[in-house]
């Protein structure tokens, strides 16, 4: 479900079924990496919407967490978001990003980081881009189903 009034209504009616939150992490920069962050933003937006479409009934897609590329306390901020979600009965909190910086903090994020390099979509034909996104979505869905299955045991 998306973070819109209508879909959050749907969420509050079926809370017991939605136990997973997905937070895209998008870096911003005005310097040399400006274009790169734009590329990541584009890629993560499309990718997260596709994931949401496939798993609408169990995943709540949050608006992305944006931060400046040199921001010091971004890990703290993210933990705050995650804790808030956990306190509100979300058993699984996942982060989706293309920014390599987060890899360093992976341990602190308790293995819930999905890091996937951004495809420069602006250089691709629309059909090609769709195909590639589709494949990545399938791989990410596997991560979710794996986590859900293991929770059952």
């Amino acid at each position: 479900m998306r973070w819109t009034a209508k879909e959050l209504d749907m969420y509050s009616q079926s809370k017991e079924y939605v136990d997973t939150v997905l937070i895209p992490l998008v870096p911003l920069s005005f310097g040399g990496e400006m274009k790169q962050t734009g590329s990541m933003n584009e890629f993560l937006t499309i990718l997260s919407l596709e994931i949401e479409k496939q798993m609408k009934g169990r995943i709540l897609l949050m608006p992305s967490l944006q931060y400046l590329h040199n921001e010091k306390d971004k890990v703290e901020r993210l933990k705050h978001w995650a804790n808030e979600a956990k306190e509100n009965n979300f058993k699984h909190v996942f982060f989706l990003t293309s920014d390599y910086e987060w890899k360093k903090d992976e341990r602190e994020l308790e293995n819930h980081l999905i890091w996937i390099p951004a495809i420069p979509l602006e250089n691709l034909e629309i059909d090609q881009a769709r195909g590639m996104i589709g494949q990545q979505v399938l791989q990410i869905l596997d991560i979710f189903t794996y986590n859900w299955k293991n929770e059952k045991k």
Partner: protein, 168 residues
């Protein structure tokens, strides 16, 4: 001058009737147009969308068919891609099922649950549907999958409107 003189009274009568007639027509025409509008627009062909799937290549095994179309979503128009699970029945009838789970809207897939082969499976809450799209009792979904209207033109599969199960 001419033999048939037009009196002032007659002249005014003609002009008034003429002008009045135009005014009445101007008012009535849109009303009539509104009244018969449903009749005029009903025959638009039901908005069928062409897929890339050849009908001759369909089998009894459900195949994933993607198709895209323009959709106006609130503020902006976007190109939306949808999927259907399509197969051919023994009598040649084509069935195109919507992949949207009737439980909470996840996307179901064919034959992906190893424990329950030859069924549609929803990965979110393990809902299942038989091949004809009917929900398996005891799993979360409470109604069967929706069905697309189908049409064949020049050997290509066209998909139309989405209908509740049993109506397309």
């Amino acid at each position: 001058m001419s033999k048939h003189n037009v009196s002032r009274r007659q002249f005014l009568n003609y002009t008034l009737t003429g002008v009045g007639g135009f005014m009445a027509a101007g008012m009535l025409m849109p009303m009539v147009r509104f009244a018969i509008d449903p009749v005029l627009s009903a025959d638009k062909g039901g908005d069928y969308i062409a897929t890339k799937q050849k009908v001759s290549e369909l089998t009894a095994e459900p195949t994933r068919v993607d198709f895209s179309f323009k959709q106006v979503d609130g503020w902006y128009e976007s190109e939306e891609t949808n999927t259907a699970w399509v197969y051919k029945m023994d009598d040649g009838k084509i069935i195109a099922l919507s992949p949207i789970c009737k439980h909470l809207g996840c996307t179901v897939a064919w034959n992906t649950d190893k424990a329950n082969p030859n069924q549609f499976f929803c990965p979110c809450h393990y809902g299942r549907y038989t091949k004809d799209g009917v929900n398996v009792k005891g799993t979360p979904p409470i109604s069967p999958l929706d069905v697309y209207e189908t049409k064949e033109k020049d050997g290509i599969l066209y998909l139309g409107r989405l209908k509740p199960h049993g109506e397309a």
